[in-house]
Assembly symmetry: D2
Homo-oligomer: 290 residues x 4
């Protein structure tokens, strides 16, 4: 089926739904799913519409222009999406999120194309190979005697990756336990298009070794968080969180083991929501339509 | 705020959303929330709209007539709701669901009026009193030597209850562990307006002593089910289900104890969904909007 | 059944279980349940034994002395418990945790005596009355012009409460949303015997208005934490945590509403575990036997 | 560390724990973990002991004989386990449980050896290859005109598999969505050593197409069940169950998709429990120690 998604946000006003649904029905579309959210007339309004466009009269490339009258009238931000997104997966040495994403893609649960898997290590090349996806290796050259040169090396490595992603028309980047803190140059190349999974229940346990932090604190539930990467480490808009109970018999190794199940689930759910254009970022937080 | 809800179902056709939203905006309403569901143009379509009617031009009593043109055009079933529903609670001797409903009503979580609590026993009169709600006692007179007379007695007791409910303009009946199987005369007096909680994970463990059945079977998770009461015992459309893990150390008494938490939660969620006009029954199953 | 519980912790050594089980079987007891935990011979060892003492030869008052040989040999901390604990409930204006504890006590889920409910407000007197439990009112007298005098007033109020608790032989204090920060004098009068419920998923969202904090941060799961009250606010050993999912449609009021269900559950579980002598505090963390 | 597990069940009597712990400590062992369960002196008693045997004086091959005095005295069933179990995985065309088991084995979560993967189809050979595990293909030859010959063919195929498993000293068989009903000859070759995952919340939805059954019924939660395979289809002792919520928007395909996550988790947990000798089957039900 030929479909498109329309995401809208603007100040709430009377007549928005009618204007949008009128645009769609007058042009031959059928609304398959529609969700909206608002806190009332004085507040912000959010809407997602999924349209069966099999008989739609407006060409894909003309959608934005055709909709501009309505968008102007209501001062809307809006975005039409009409094709499967191209996603790069960045990994380091842990394979669980990578396997999970590739299998869900294979089962049709997550609708993305994955033209490339990128890593700073060679460890997971065999997984890419098994799934017939090109794997590219971008090491960060380390000079043990010079911290600055390390940062420079990282900047150069990132630049090479960014260039490659642009070349491949990548629209979404999954950090599947990539284990590197991205610099602002990378973050800003893909604003709200890089999804990271942090193995802690944010805002608790930011930064390094969150399972060790959780163990020290003696919590009874651990979690993982998928969020958009922003310049503030582990502080970007949260998309999805998951938790699992632990008890006194669990060691940090058990946390890591149980955490794997949660990490891959929250990352997959976040990627799926983004791939289906179900997320709007507003004032540092996400709205995730069902 | 002056609000109303509109529930619609019909065959899916182009232009439904536009027609409905047009009706609302042209008459001065603002859509606060709108959800719809369909499996495509050849399938059934379901919609719920919540409208801010503060400035709505059509009077409540004229809504049905005003909407009839659109309803006829699309062959819709539709229902406007614009006031807080009046609910009766039927109980027997268990108090956990009763307390839970009364407290949630008090907190404003469930928006209903409760003009009466009815029981075939006197045990829970004190709870009704503590919450300042009238309690009425309708015993089933038993003649131990005559089974038929027992059924007759039950029919008479039910008829007295039905009369009282009608007198009080009751629109929704919560069976809060009422422990009596209703006869068809009661069921048919309130079709899809009687909500029961069964202490088993239906369709498993229908009928009597479901926790004992679960114990015998050795399941590892037990559950409870809220459903509309129909003539087929424990077979009415399921509205909400909940579960809890149990293990080999749990006795039937532990199941009963753990089950209480689940029973009251699923009943409360089902009542809340019905009270907010979020449920459509279609072909023996429910759609429950979020 | 005549029963007692024995809680032990010491450095792990060979022969502990054998020594303890020998003490019990030689004196005519039968082990109903036994759990132990250790990280190996170089680490700490924890054990809980529940004993059927119907035919036990040692009198309750002689247990400690009789066990001292074994305890000395292994340098054990140990504690026998043989009666239902006496618990005070402290409340302020929120009733959900209070109702929950009283109902679970009534159902036999939590085995405690509750000789008193104490509050700094009169709002919940009616609940105590409905359950036939004495309610006592200890207001904190406020002098709006003098902050110091407020603290003094609080110290005096606490002292009166402590005196009353001692008089009533209270062994466990449940802070059922008491909404007051206890001073060290109160904390130290009942070390690891005061259980508080915090309406946040600690260590996130300590202090005031945790649901507002969670809303600001945009988390997708909220939680509650039951912990022993210590001098560090919301930093005492965590006993139990629970969570519930929220989404963008939930307001802070919805968090509060959903949170009630979690708060009461975690508090009840923590109280139950303590009442059954299933908790050992070690190095700022808890072991909670199943 | 050199370890062994001891599983015991017998009629409950005084002195069992002391006798068992005495046997262990007198012979130089240290109890790492010990769990027991009983409903009292008149009931059955179950115990699992994990022992650090680094300095144990009795050789592995002499354990049974050395323990026979105690076992006879208490009329115990008992079983020592001291090595990693050898497990065969049987699959058909679905790969999710297979990947999950192989990855958990790789991470060290499940302690088994997997010397062989067996299938009646060739579809998953590539997965076995990617994990460097021998894959063997045992097709069931079908004669479309003769049902009896089909059953005969199946019996022959099974016999070839059984022979191969015996040859490889297989001790545990995982049916990882094998999609074939085993005949009694196979079941009886490995009593309570074949673990199946059924994609329904048993006892609901036994047999074929459980997700379709669940969809027809309109349940709000679906589940999966891991159990020992017995001659009664989907009726063997339940080891583990898991559930996930679904709603009206989910199609049968969504059930299948969501179900995958649950199926693999319950199968993995059941395999892990069996691999660690944590399961005792008693009167058609399982005890699964933590």
């Amino acid at each position: 089926m030929n479909k498109f998604t329309l995401l809208i946000d603007c100040h709430d006003q009377k007549g928005i739904v009618n204007a949008v649904s009128g645009f769609i029905s007058e042009n031959g579309g059928n609304i398959i799913d529609s969700q909206q959210y608002s806190l009332g007339l004085s507040a912000h309004f959010f809407m997602r519409v999924l349209v069966d466009a099999s008989e739609f009269k407006i060409k894909t490339e003309d959608l934005d222009a055709a909709f501009s009258n309505i968008a102007d009238k209501f001062s809307m931000s809006f975005k039409f999406s009409h094709h499967t997104k191209r996603m790069a997966i960045l990994v380091s040495k842990y394979d669980h999120c990578l396997y999970d994403l590739l299998l869900r893609k294979q089962y049709g649960e997550i609708n993305v194309e994955v033209p490339i898997i990128i890593s700073n290590h060679l460890d997971l090349k065999h997984v890419a190979t098994a799934f017939n996806i090109p794997f590219e290796y971008y090491p960060i050259e380390r000079d043990e005697y010079d911290t600055n040169s390390h940062y420079d090396s990282k900047l150069r490595q990132e630049q090479r990756i960014i260039n490659r992603l642009k070349e491949l028309n990548i629209e979404l980047v999954a950090l599947a336990r990539y284990m590197q803190i991205l610099t602002p140059q990378f973050i800003n190349a893909y604003p709200f298009k890089i999804i990271n999974v942090h193995h802690g229940f944010l805002p608790s346990f930011k930064g390094a070794r969150p399972y060790h932090q959780a163990f020290e604190k003696g919590v009874k539930i651990i979690g993982a968080t998928a969020h958009y990467a922003t310049e503030d480490l582990d502080m970007g808009p949260i998309i999805e969180q998951g938790v699992i109970s632990i008890d006194h018999r669990d060691t940090v190794e058990d946390y890591i083991s149980k955490g794997r199940d949660i990490e891959k689930q929250v990352l997959a759910k976040a990627i799926k929501a983004h791939a289906e254009d179900k997320i709007i970022v507003h004032e540092g937080k996400t709205l995730v339509f069902d």
